[in-house]
């Protein structure tokens, strides 16, 4: 059941049980994991290892990417099969900042040029690397570069009323083109090795315990803020216009809404969120390379959202966590099975759980309520 809520903003945003539970659990996780890592002795059953902190931190950034995808797919019906392109660009912007932080500690000891440029006999820093040593500038690029690409790409697509499967296909082409471009050494992004060997961030050593936990907290806060922004949007009248576009695009147009502008706006916002997710991801995994742009990565991200349950936001985040947990476990235990498992999972969810895990839970709850005579 859904109903318009025109009360104060916070009750509007956290009015439904699922969202409220999600926010509470997320805050608890963000606080508890670093505490259990630092203050509990290693012998304790509740101790969280360094490895696990980094792993859950990575899941949190994936969850933010999933929220970004659900915002356009679940609410506006725009299926993007190229969203990791925006994630990757945000990641590369962060990676460029981290590369510049290495300074003269690289293998070749060049104070300005990253190692791979020295290796290619480059004499000067390419123009687009300038300013990336400044943290605020680099962080602005984390949102602006994906945002700009989404704006230009979306303008071309939505203005021509490209929708549905055609849109999905051209987003695949977009991310594939980016992957090929970033594989080239001449692009100046480290070719197929990408950017790695990072040393520190904001003057602190990346491998230090404190920084690992700080990045974890940053990812938790990033996911929380991204979720709240998305909730603010979908519970506003704009959110209802987006759903109207999803359900009856032509009718929305005849009601006086410029559908292309709405799609462009939400697509750009979503790309920016994905960029932030990528930027939080890179320092925790220590590398960014063109494989992030691979078409299969984008499809995988869409599967997370489908598994969790689209159109709920928290379902998408949950799906990202669940699928990646399964992936981590399976690729450890039976590495060759994973691609098949992912495919089967997607087919099974599409056939049997069209509303994902979240839909299954609410269905079970309804069934239980019906059994209890009231």
């Amino acid at each position: 059941m859904r109903h318009s809520n025109h009360g104060p903003v916070l009750t509007r945003m956290l009015g439904d049980t699922g969202s409220l539970i999600f926010v509470v659990v997320l805050i608890a996780l963000t606080v508890a994991v670093p505490l259990c890592n630092v203050y509990l002795p290693e012998a304790s059953a509740l101790h969280v290892t360094d490895y696990t902190v980094a792993l859950i931190g990575k899941y949190l950034t994936y969850a933010l990417l999933a929220v970004a995808i659900d915002l356009i797919w679940g609410y506006c019906g725009i299926l993007s099969l190229g969203h990791t392109a925006f994630f990757g660009l945000g990641g590369y912007a962060m990676g460029m900042y981290l590369m510049r932080q290495i300074g003269d500690r690289g293998v070749y000891g060049n104070p300005v040029l990253p190692d791979f440029m020295v290796f290619l006999d480059w004499e000067h820093l390419p123009w687009y690397w300038h300013g990336m040593d400044l943290f605020p500038f680099a962080m602005a690029m984390v949102v602006l570069v994906p945002g700009l690409l989404a704006l230009v790409f979306g303008w071309l697509a939505f203005r021509s009323r490209v929708t549905g499967v055609y849109f999905a296909i051209i987003t695949q082409a977009m991310t594939y083109a980016l992957m090929l471009a970033f594989f080239r050494n001449e692009m100046g992004f480290g070719g197929n090795n990408g950017l790695t060997d990072f040393k520190d961030i904001l003057g602190y050593e990346l491998s230090a315990d404190g920084i690992r936990n700080a990045l974890f907290v940053a990812s938790g806060v990033g996911l929380l803020l991204g979720f709240l922004i998305a909730r603010f949007i979908v519970t506003s009248r704009l959110g209802r216009v987006l759903e109207a576009i999803r359900d009856a695009e032509s009718r929305t147009r005849f009601t006086g809404y410029r559908v292309a502008y709405y799609k462009l706006w939400i697509f750009t916002v979503s790309a920016m969120l994905a960029g932030v997710a990528g930027a939080l991801y890179v320092p925790q995994v220590g590398i960014i390379n063109p494989s992030e742009f691979s078409p299969i990565a984008s499809i995988e991200a869409v599967v997370w959202v489908a598994v969790g349950g689209r159109g709920t936001l928290y379902g998408a985040a949950l799906g990202a966590g669940a699928v990646n947990f399964a992936k981590t476990w399976l690729t450890g235990a039976y590495p060759e099975i994973w691609p098949y498992a992912l495919g089967i999972l997607f087919v099974a969810v599409t056939l049997f759980l069209p509303k994902g895990i979240v839909g299954l839970v609410s269905q079970l709850r309804r069934r239980m309520r019906r059994k209890e005579p009231s």
Partner: protein
């Protein structure tokens, strides 16, 4: 527009460029001459088939006009042209004396004050009845204003009034998809009213309705005329007889006859192509 024509348009001193005399956003149609809709010499062809053949039609401000005609007469195509969905090959369409409909897209036409009801009821099925009316409500259509929009007391009251008028006050929190066919038709008329259009285009409002529902719809539409201009396309002759003052008969993309219902019914050409069937 082909390039030579475009160049010509720049060198043509007798007319002002389109972007100069484009009506300001929110401009009302100028009906000082008593006519709200001018459709002149509109031709539309699909693969050689002329859906509209130099169609000319005028609708007066405040009028309730019925348009009838056999299938394929061009009724829906005419609506498509007026609402910006289909671009005609030739002709002019003006809303009042000041708004060139052919320069606007669908949202532009809707914002200028023309509301359209489709043949098949199209409401936002997953939204509640109340939300459907809220979305249709006249007002800002830009992304940012809509993001920050909040329902004022006055607007809420306006929605309540419309809910009463179309008889859906009890169903306000239900999903529009759960309404009956007739109720959906009324909700759609309610949405049109929320848009506060000067001109309503209504395509087959009583198709598939029970006699009681038809009566109620006739009552609703008659009440609307006067304040607004209403154009109704309908097959149901009984219904047309009950509401119409002036009837226009379309046939093969042209106006075959126009006048009061009694005259029309006795026109031998009309009887031949339509009523006699």
């Amino acid at each position: 527009m082909k390039t030579p024509a475009l160049l010509e348009s720049f060198s043509d001193r007798s007319r002002v460029f389109d972007f100069v005399n484009r009506p300001a956003a929110g401009a009302k149609p100028d009906v000082r001459h008593g006519t709200i809709l001018y459709v002149e010499d509109i031709t539309v062809s699909f693969d050689g088939f002329k859906a509209l053949d130099a169609l000319t039609l005028y609708v007066d401000a405040g009028e309730l006009r019925c348009i009838i005609g056999p299938n394929g007469a061009g009724k829906t195509t005419m609506m498509d042209v007026i609402t910006g969905k289909t671009r005609p090959d030739a002709g002019r369409a003006w809303f009042g004396q000041n708004i060139n409909l052919l320069s606007l897209d669908e949202p532009g036409v809707a914002q200028a004050g023309i509301g359209r009801k489709f043949q098949k009821p199209t409401v936002f099925e997953r939204h509640t009845v109340h939300e459907n009316l809220e979305l249709a409500m006249a007002g800002a259509r830009g992304v940012w204003p809509v993001l920050l929009a909040r329902l004022s007391g006055e607007q809420a009251a306006h929605i309540d009034e419309t809910l009463e008028l179309v008889g859906l006050a009890e169903r306000r929190h239900d999903a529009a998809g759960s309404l009956s066919h007739g109720q959906k038709q009324w909700l759609e008329i309610g949405m049109l009213l929320m848009q506060e259009p000067e001109l309503l285009l209504i395509d087959e409002p009583v198709a598939g309705m029970t006699p009681q529902e038809v009566e109620r719809t006739a009552d609703l539409l008659t009440r609307l005329a006067g304040k607004r201009s209403v154009v109704v396309v309908e097959h149901d002759m009984e219904f047309v007889r009950s509401i119409a003052r002036t009837v226009t008969v379309l046939h093969e993309g042209r106006v075959l006859a126009e006048g009061p219902m009694d005259t029309i019914q006795n026109d031998p050409r009309v009887v031949e192509v339509y009523l006699g069937e």
